[in-house]
């Protein structure tokens, strides 16, 4: 279904190709053999660890912490609403425009469903055992030590533990009833089918604009849903995602305005833009984050007002303005690639400067630099790892806390925990780059 298997002749062609490329000279053959041996050994060790040795139960039992941290369980509906809206929007957009992503979507969906099914009914618990032990000291005395020992126990044993761990993580990311997760799946499928139905109108400006607007509105809606709980409760992947979404969105807006400001005919504006861009890029993000944390009333009333805002919001502001400086430079490159004739044609037909930039220049300039913009977004996403440095509990910090606080069951489980942290960063980066790739091909239609 997902793609025809290469036929025999293609395989033998590949083998011939490999012989010609990898084993053509003595040096090349030696290098290839070394690479295969080393790579194979690494792959073997990794596979052995993942399949048999790793303590995935630890990950499974802490899954909620990885996703939403210590978000109040009674308020979990706020996150579920956000998840539902996102699922519907994503599925609709995918159904409408995601043709190129279909193989990936099907692969991910089928795998997820398989794992889900396997995981149903699995039970994972921590068993506590009373233990008594006699310890012989050096002087020959015997002392009796007793206490409680905790152990992770899986209830079913016919599939490897990692499969249970993954399935539990997927099925119940928030420790929620699997019915909710099933609802998300249903929404995804129905949304995608509805999107497919609508493909006839996929170039319709009203549909385009409303779905675009819905995506943009999603961010404030998710934030507004937190009224009553407070952003201070955001932790883990949920915190990272929101800081990235808010910061990324506004960094794009700020970046576009800075790029335009840089070439403004008013010198004050262009000098201010250039100065801003250069100053912001002169220091690492960490420094700006620390500024935002410790900036109390040094800056007078402005600083005071700023420091009264919740740290999470302050960090989002820093992300937006920091990312904006970089996106500005990317967009500037795009603007420079637009030939003068485009400006002249727009001027000659009487478009206002705003119309000229909004309809003619920016759409082309931004299209020209989609890959670089996606690159900046991916960098910004991975920069959320720095949140730990300003005492926000991001995924990384949560992982450390799990390791530090559950010493009995988490003993030595660094690898398992950090693999999960790495997967969280990788997954979003990967989705962004696929999305960027799809956007690029789609937007290339009609380019000169």
């Amino acid at each position: 279904m997902i793609g025809a298997l290469p036929n025999a002749s293609a395989l033998s062609r590949r083998a011939a190709h490999a012989r010609a490329r990898l084993f053509n000279t003595r040096t090349n053959t030696a290098l290839s053999i070394v690479a295969i041996v080393v790579g194979g050994a690494l792959a073997f060790l990794l596979a052995r660890f993942i399949l048999f040795e790793a303590n995935w139960g630890l990950v499974a039992i802490n899954r909620k912490l990885f996703f939403v941290g210590s978000y109040p369980p009674d308020e979990a509906f706020r996150i579920w609403i956000a998840v539902f809206i996102t699922a519907v929007l994503a599925a609709l957009s995918y159904g409408l425009w995601g043709g190129r992503l279909r193989p990936y979507a099907i692969a991910v969906g089928v795998t997820a469903l398989l794992i889900l099914t396997l995981g149903l009914g699995t039970e994972l618990r921590i068993e506590e055992r009373q233990y008594t032990e006699e310890i012989q000291s050096a002087s020959g005395q015997t002392t009796t030590v007793s206490g409680i020992e905790r152990e992770l126990v899986f209830d079913r044993g016919w599939a490897p533990t990692w499969l249970y761990a993954v399935s539990l993580g997927l099925a119940l990311p928030f420790g929620a009833p699997w019915l909710l997760m099933a609802a998300v799946f249903a929404l995804l499928v129905v949304g995608a089918m509805a999107g497919r139905r609508l493909t006839r109108w996929k170039s319709n400006p009203i549909l385009l604009q409303s779905i675009g607007a819905a995506w943009v509105l999603l961010i404030p809606v998710v934030v507004l849903l937190q009224v009553g709980v407070g952003v201070d409760k955001w932790e883990s992947a949920f915190l990272d995602l929101l800081v990235f979404a808010v910061g990324g969105f506004f960094s794009f807006v700020i970046g576009v305005f800075l790029a335009l400001g840089r070439r403004s005919p008013y010198r004050a504006i262009s000098v201010a833009s250039v100065t801003y861009i250069e100053v912001v890029r002169a220091a690492p993000l960490l420094v700006w984050l620390l500024f935002a944390t410790f900036l109390e009333d040094e800056l007078g009333p402005v600083g005071e007002a700023f420091s009264n805002i919740s740290l999470t919001y302050r960090v989002m502001v820093v992300f937006a303005f920091f990312g904006g400086a970089y996106i500005a430079e990317v967009v500037r490159g795009g603007l420079q690639s637009i030939p003068r004739g485009q400006y002249e044609a727009a001027d000659a037909m009487g478009l206002s400067p705003v119309e000229k930039y909004a309809v003619i220049i920016l759409p082309q300039a931004i299209r020209a630099v989609v890959p670089a913009i996606i690159g900046r977004f991916i960098a910004l996403w991975k920069d959320t790892a720095l949140l730990a440095a300003v005492s926000l509990v991001n995924t990384l910090e949560k992982a450390k806390k799990v390791l530090g606080s559950q010493t009995d069951i988490a003993e030595g489980a660094f690898f398992e925990i950090y693999i999960v942290v790495g997967l969280v960063y990788w997954l979003v980066s990967y989705l962004l780059s696929r999305l960027g790739g799809a956007a690029e091909t789609r937007l290339r239609v009609g380019a000169r």
Partner: protein, 250 residues
């Protein structure tokens, strides 16, 4: 020559344009009346493009006065809005918007500048495409068309504003030879329909047959103006003769 009763569309009085120390236009006087077709010829760098571009103020002039349909072009932005909304310009390099379909390229300005409803603007765009003979390309993107087709779209785009004046800046110079005629044909039909036109061109056949008057420019000045019949048969100025000899004898 146009008769006295005809309305004057453009008048330039002693117009001068400088780029730094370099004088690209030096005291140019021209008057074009309604329905007239004027061809401008002259060697490269003689200021032909600059002349067109001062008329719609892509290059603001430094000295002299420019009148468009009785209104003087001044610093007042309203005069700028009017001249651009009421003139159409066709460029050597087409300058179509590559990210918009042919139809959107044409319907855009009427919608944004004249505030026409989308449907009306697009219907009109289709009529214009029909007029330049490529209505079947409406949904394509400019990059999918041949050069000649692109230039015809550019002409339709300029016409969509219902301009009082059409300006062409070497519209066939970037075209492969086999495509020149399809564009010249559209221009000739346009001239016959009574459109007021100023055309910078190297197509002497077009200048001779479709234009009422021919202007010869050199070094930022108008060297000679004549009716197209006089101009080619009995040029007065030696510089005109030299130029005509050069381009007509090869």
């Amino acid at each position: 020559m146009a008769t006295e009763s005809k309305r004057e569309i453009v008048r330039l009085e002693k117009v001068t344009k400088r780029f730094g120390d370099f004088t690209a236009l030096n005291g140019v006087d021209i008057s074009v009346t309604e329905g007239e077709v004027v061809a401008i010829i002259g060697p490269s760098g003689s200021g032909k493009s600059t002349l067109l571009r001062t008329i719609n103020q892509l290059e603001p002039h430094d000295e002299g006065r420019i009148f468009f349909d009785g209104m003087e072009l001044t610093d007042d932005s309203r005069t700028l809005t009017k001249i651009r909304a009421e003139t159409g310009m066709v460029f050597q390099q087409f300058n179509l918007f590559p990210h918009l379909t042919v139809l959107r390229n044409i319907a855009l300005a009427p919608q944004k500048v004249h505030h026409r409803p989308e449907q009306e603007a697009e219907e009109r765009a289709l009529q214009l495409l029909d007029r330049v003979g490529i209505v079947e390309q409406a949904e394509k993107y400019p990059g999918q068309l041949s050069g000649g087709q692109q230039q015809r779209v550019a002409i339709a785009r300029a016409l969509a504003m219902d301009p009082k004046l059409m300006m062409f800046d070497e519209p066939t110079s970037a075209l492969d030879p086999e495509m020149i005629n399809e564009v010249l044909k559209v221009m000739t039909e346009l001239a016959a329909s009574g459109m007021t036109m100023i055309c910078v061109t190297h197509e002497m056949g077009f200048a001779r047959n479709a234009a009422n008057r021919v202007i010869f420019m050199d070094e930022g000045e108008i060297v000679e103006i004549g009716t197209s019949a006089e101009f080619f048969t009995t040029p007065r100025e030696p510089r005109t003769k030299t130029f005509l000899d050069q381009i007509l004898t090869h």
